[in-house]
Symmetry: C2
Subunit: 595 residues, 2 copies
């Protein structure tokens, strides 16, 4: 079911009940942009986290699918909510990536609905303030009513501050005065003062003060809450004022719920501490925390701690398929849709799932790929099928060693060593002594580098620019020999990765610029960090995603050298549309594939 501002208030109790009753959830989200991070195959989980948080800019989540599953003895029930999320106020400034919005629009995403009826949200600190403010505002009004007749002092001060009416506005103001005088004597119920500019409105409010015993006034708004003028009515009785005030409070409470919006749902989800399934969920969790809870910590361990506290029980189906010994051999590709295709036939069994009502119905017969609700639903189905295959009951995950190394691990693409973030434990640290930093003459091609390293077996080249690169040996045993035995070639230098890092005393990733700085060569390295990210070379030639191929076709030929030379002589896999999962060595250059 779609949830927007149009039905949020009405459906909120049901959403809350659903979260309460569910056994587990599957989620998915759609963003205004995706991280364009420059991940190296030898990056650690912490490196990936820092690079990603620095590169997700101010992109936001605009749709969240939440699929709640209930496991009963004889059947599995599910309800899917598809939330449109959009902060429609002036202070909400966010970034978008042209390609992402285009991609979503081409896949049927309704942006008109999003911008008109998307749910608001607030972070934890702002929510508290909002609640407090409303309480004070209502208290202030209550006090005002009580003290109105007793104290006319304030009124005197107001009168003293009055703006003299300029000559050119006299006619307008006199007209309005006359209109009010006639209204007071008449049986008319109300009238509206319209078409005034701000200054004129101010003058009108001034004269209204002189009529405060005869008329009541309020600002008149249209259905979009836009001010259209000043509504003038006969003076209301105390009882009428009371009824009006109660209505007003009810409206304000509803408005508060709408302002806190989707955050109310996430809070319940977090408090439930129940299992949440996602597919390739790194960006999902990063955006969730950043947008709805608090800024992403610059400290990796702090991030893990906060994530664990917020969502203490996660499973990433991409990591599950890629890693679990029984599942790994079954999947050529772990793109969500490909997983579904695989689990739809033997040796897998698709679970039989009943939607709780027609409103919540998605069907894999009518795929709505890239709609968050549908993708969440698909993720849940795949997860159930995987669990069925490895013969583990979802309710007994915590009791079985089979899932030990799957729970709370979030998949990391493109990296070679530790390809997950372990939310509840420290990841193993892996030495990088098989990685080298080299510089060479600009005339060198890929084949020159391969020639230079041929005695050490397969290598992977990460080009920095036309005269430097990182080299990663696939056979770590050869690493020790390299520096000693590689021999001298004019214009060629080599250092270990550790030495390289030490040299870069100021080596750091600067906010969302992904810039290396060093006192010695900051300029030249800054100059080239961009091409690595945006050129097809960094995507390993043929492996750029379909979307990239489209937008970057014109660049392909221009960077032939970079593009071709990036293909290492080893088996590499730069799969963003699909990944090889058979061999750890090949897990290079995965992209965020559930797009």
């Amino acid at each position: 079911m779609e949830i927007t501002t149009k039905n949020f208030i009405e459906k909120l109790p049901e959403i809350k009940a659903t979260i309460k009753e569910a056994d587990f959830f599957a989620i998915d989200s759609e963003f205004t942009g995706i991280s364009d991070k420059n991940i190296y195959p030898f990056d650690s989980p912490e490196d990936v986290y820092l690079k990603t948080t620095n590169s997700i800019s101010d992109y936001i989540i605009i749709q969240i699918g939440l699929c709640a599953f209930r496991l009963q003895d004889d059947k599995i029930l599910c309800k899917t909510f598809n939330f449109y999320i959009f902060p429609g106020s002036r202070i909400n400034v966010f970034t978008s990536q042209g390609e992402s919005l285009k991609f979503l629009a081409e896949n049927g995403f309704d942006f008109n609905k999003l911008f008109r009826y998307g749910l608001n949200y607030v972070n934890t600190a702002d929510e508290e303030k909002l609640r407090l403010d409303l309480k004070e505002k209502q208290k202030y009004r209550a006090n005002l009513v009580n003290s109105k007749e007793e104290n006319s002092n304030e009124h005197q001060i107001q009168l003293a501050n009055h703006i003299p009416i300029p000559e050119e506005e006299q006619e307008l103001i006199n007209g309005i005065r006359e209109r009010i005088d006639n209204f007071i004597k008449s049986d008319e119920k109300q009238f509206i003062v319209e078409n005034c500019n701000g200054f004129q409105r101010k003058l009108v409010y001034q004269i209204l003060e002189n009529y405060q015993n005869e008329i009541s006034h309020s600002s008149y708004t249209d259905e979009n809450n836009k001010s259209k003028g000043i509504l003038i009515e006969h003076k209301r009785s105390a009882e009428d004022e009371q009824v009006l005030e109660e209505e007003r409070i009810k409206k304000e409470e509803e408005q508060l719920l709408l302002t806190i919006g989707f955050s109310l749902v996430l809070q319940d989800l977090s408090k439930s501490k129940k299992l949440i399934i996602g597919h390739n969920m790194l960006l999902d969790v990063l955006y969730l925390i950043k947008q709805f809870f608090k800024p992403l910590p610059s400290n990796y361990e702090e991030f893990k701690k906060f994530l664990h506290k917020t969502f203490p029980y996660l499973i990433d189906t991409k990591y599950f398929c890629t890693t679990h010994l029984q599942l790994k051999p079954q999947f050529n590709s772990t793109v969500l849709q490909h997983i579904f295709r695989t689990v739809s036939k033997a040796p897998f069994n698709l679970p039989k799932i009943e939607s709780e009502s027609m409103e919540y119905e998605y069907s894999t017969d009518q795929p709505k790929e890239h709609e968050a609700g549908y993708d969440a639903y698909l993720t849940g189905i795949c997860f159930l099928s995987l669990m069925d295959f490895i013969k583990v009951n979802v309710k007994e995950i915590k009791q079985t060693s089979k899932m030990n190394k799957i729970v709370n691990r979030i998949f990391l693409g493109r990296v070679n060593d530790v390809n997950y973030i372990d939310i509840s434990n420290k990841e193993p640290s892996v030495k990088k002594d098989h990685v080298f930093y080299i510089t060479f003459p600009e005339t060198w091609k890929q084949s020159d580098i391969f020639e230079k390293f041929k005695k050490y077996g397969f290598i992977h080249i990460t080009w920095i620019n036309s005269w430097s690169a990182f080299i990663m040996l696939h056979n770590r045993l050869n690493a020790l020999a390299v520096i000693k035995t590689i021999g001298h070639t004019p214009g060629f230098t080599i250092t270990t990765f550790e030495q390289y890092k030490q040299k870069q005393q100021n080596y750091r990733y600067v906010s969302d610029k992904r810039i290396f700085t060093s006192p010695n060569n900051s300029k030249s390295i800054i100059g080239v960090s961009k091409p690595i990210e945006s050129s097809p070379g960094s995507k390993c030639g043929t492996g750029s995603s379909n979307r990239e191929e489209t937008s970057e076709t014109h660049k392909k030929e221009e960077s032939q050298k970079r593009s071709s030379s990036f293909i290492a002589s080893s088996k590499t896999n730069n799969d963003d549309e699909a990944e090889c999962t058979n061999n750890k060595k090949t897990k290079l250059f995965h992209d965020n594939d559930n797009w």
Copy 2:
């Protein structure tokens, strides 16, 4: 007529012809966000330019209306194009303001159309590169064909770089080999290798090299230019290859036009050097230059020079109505729709305008406010009516002194002295000796300040924070006396604005943060610069725009002091939905009103 990628190629010749034939144009644009600048009433045009350029963030234009008018002896003809503009590639990262997108969506803007079919654009430098790249790419292909048979050296190198086929891919690759062998012997016209991940595609391309005398292959894309697989066909003859190459070149040339996109239109518009009418057009020209030509210069004079070179003949209808002696008394409000309402009745005459065909038809009977095309059309109509009223022929503007001080002046809202940018001349510089910087006890209210200044006549207060403000005297003649005669009050200090600026040695506006820094009190001033902009106080109480009232209602009570105390005892006008135009003194706090 709507112009999107769907009809751009087809309509481009007609657009170009229309620009060539027109006598003048009216334009309007819609943005993803508007400047949230903190303009002071005593700011100079240069101050406003710098503050605005620093605060427009990376907002972009997403729709441009271009209405071309032809003046004939007996009638006025017009054609309106409504261009959807959207950069759909990965590298295009831009910002949006939630409120702006919501506002446009509520006014019927079709974002789904925008994101799917919006026109691309490139700046001048990129266009040159694109053209060069395509030429080289085509030349490269031509050379390749010529050298194919002569030189198999490259092929040998390619083979040497081949990746060994891993065991787990053998079955797939053998299957594809077999499929190709059968295809070669068959009458089938083609087949497609699908569902491969990136690594697998790479392996497939490798084996295809062995079949290069028997088959031709190309990447197979869907209607959205998305790769779907590898299309295999029987080896094409040289003639077929030639035909195919010609088709390919034609497609590439079309693609190039689509990539340069809307920039092609703007270039023609600029080259035409014809009169362009806009309404409140500061943001329009700033965004136009920034987005389609080059970054906005940090030097004000450089900006004016470039703007004058690019669009040498501009009239801003807002400035026209606000300033022209015959028009000024006629308008209470210079919001575009209000101007139209005024010129729709006596003493004005609406021009009779014929659309050149149904396709270009807008009608004021069916208003489409906030659609750029319609607003451009409306601007053109208002302009013609204004010209009729002051009895100047549009073709003779340059010859009449009546328009001397109107042409090439762009309206500036909210400022008190020079309320325009003069594109072709230096603006007069105005001394600020009637402006003072004061500090005072935090307990002070507005009335304390008024009391302190009462002997100097009307003042305007620009609050900086709860203990400091700028005071502007409306009667400049009183300025000299202030420092000498204001007298001592504990906790109160006063300096002239000039002294204040000198003290702030590091006084500067920092990029889009609008922050003052000073070595002495940077912290406290930074801390308060935000509330001034976003609190209703800065909008002068009742004068915040309708849109603001909605989103900021909850803040109103909390900042009562700030809000009320901001209302100077003088006549102020903080008009964003409409402006007072009768008195220069009142031109404070105008907002971008043609929204």
